[in-house]
Homo-oligomer: 325 residues x 2
């Protein structure tokens, strides 16, 4: 590894959790701020708009061994997942015509759609390069990161095609978010497990856990769009419908209330939506479903019979995704 | 491998050249027409709009061993390169607002920019998956395909940023096309060489050969935009400038003719451009440069001291790229 000033910086083969988190942040920043000059002015813009690193925390927790140490290859994998996530956000903003993301002006708004398309491609390629650069190539091959990229793309295409679709069914919606949000969580849990476990059956359970947590993360996100203020959500609320995205609380309301559905053939007002979603129980239904994924996740963590510190870290990620903390 | 009807189809470990070409075409078509239903309607559209498979011919020629046989992994690599090429075309069309490509309506025109962005992402991911699925993982790791993807992205971004830039210099232009067109040729030659050669120095010469051929391919393409009819070029001619792309013949003319450059600050007419490019020798200069790359390429092929059939195949690719055949 080389830091921003070009100095070599060697990671030990094993790191503790906190050092690993710092190393991932450092690696992501380094990649964004030392990319070729031509792309740096755009990617630099992304350094400040980082999220909660929830995928990194997941991956590192899964990668933690019995002695609480983490193979340094987890740092590469986590940075790769964060950059892949960033790439999908950049292209997502192009697709959604979004001006703001987490209160920051988007790359597509600031520099134009064309630049954003290429920057997203670049971030995607760099993410895959970073994953490929781990010292243990077997682990890299097992991960098969491109397959997660195509899954996420399909999820995005599916969501885009169902924008404004007031006939979107519940099962289909769950399939879409399983491909989109949950696939990236699954990749994080899988990559971590590959570094700490050998039994394919156990590795598969981590994978499932990742998918479940991804599902409840998205469903909780859907609910937040209806009930919270911008300050609490740290993202613009009441914006999904305005961007054409039909999420589960609304899907449920459209299914239960025929008068409301008839009205939805035209343009709905926010107060129409919010009251229908509350009245029909769309929010309660979505919360209930998220809770099911939460309980399933708790069970998988228990069944894995992990060392206490690791189990607690996974529960922390779970609670954070469920917005309990 | 599975064909379109789902029947298993096993390739022998080694194939002759013609069978390998067919297998690549079949694999590309299979990937496009058996992609998940949601994406198939778009990718299906691309099946018919295939090019000359020049990158496949290059890769397979490089992969040919002394006994004229080709490792079947070359089929995966070549199909991956073709799909990557297709992905860049799809995103290129988004960036250039192009309506037509080789006389066919583009994906972005037919289905919209948003769909084209995601389809390009999907093709990119599938291309990388295909490359990763070769039986010999060592060869795959050596190839490091994502690094070529980021190179191509940087080349595209650089080109896009220099659209309409009448001050673009000759060296900078050559660097742009070296990153863009030539990088994909380089990847093809490199991937082939990895499968037929062991000496890193020799493999590096193939790589250089690929870059040279990519350069002369692009420079010849630039010239065709000025001198040929649509029928001969099999692509719309007189279209680069109209799409904002400033190519070498025009760069040269702008450098040599100050009156013309002054005029270029406004909108140029086609007859202005064509006559300036001829008068200043911009076309001759570009041809001369392409010829230099041609001669360099011939020398590398000779220096490699290849078996006659393989040398002839590489010369065929060279002549085809130079539009001699």
């Amino acid at each position: 590894m080389t830091n921003i000033n070009g100095n070599r910086f060697e990671l030990n083969e094993y790191l503790n959790f906190d050092d690993a988190v710092e190393a991932v942040k450092w690696e992501v920043d380094r990649t964004l701020s030392t990319s070729p000059k031509i792309i740096r002015q755009y990617t630099q813009h992304l350094v400040v708009s980082r999220g909660k690193f929830i995928r990194t925390l997941s991956l590192l927790a899964c990668a933690q061994k019995e002695d609480k140490m983490i193979n340094r290859n987890a740092v590469n994998f986590a940075a790769a997942v964060e950059l892949l996530h960033l790439a999908t956000l950049v292209h997502d903003d192009v697709i959604d015509d979004a001006d703001l993301r987490r209160g920051e002006i988007t790359l597509q708004k600031k520099f134009g759609k064309k630049t954003a398309v290429i920057c997203g491609d670049y971030l995607l390629a760099v993410s895959l390069e970073l994953a490929a650069s781990v010292s243990d190539k077997e682990d890299y091959l097992k991960l098969n990161m491109p397959s997660y990229v195509s899954k996420v793309c399909l999820g995005e295409l599916n969501q885009h095609l169902n924008n404004h679709n007031i006939d979107l069914g519940i099962m289909k919606y769950l399939r879409i978010i399983s491909g989109k949000t949950a696939a990236l969580f699954e990749a994080s849990f899988y990559a971590g497990a590959v570094l700490s476990e050998t039994d394919p059956k156990r590795i598969n359970r981590y994978r499932k856990l990742g998918n479940n947590i991804g599902m409840l993360f998205q469903l909780t996100d859907d609910c937040m769009d209806f009930e919270e203020t911008t300050e609490v959500a740290k993202k613009p609320v009441e914006s999904d419908y305005e961007q054409g995205v039909i999420t589960l609380p609304l899907i449920y309301a459209l299914k239960k209330d025929e008068v409301f559905k008839k009205k939805a053939e035209g343009k709905l007002s926010r107060s129409d939506i919010n009251s229908a979603v509350k009245k029909t129980g769309g929010l309660d239904f979505t919360h209930m479903l998220a809770e099911k994924y939460y309980k399933k996740s708790l069970k998988i963590i228990a069944d894995l019979e992990l060392e206490e510190d690791k189990a607690n870290k996974l529960k922390f990620v779970l609670d954070k995704s469920y917005r309990l903390i």
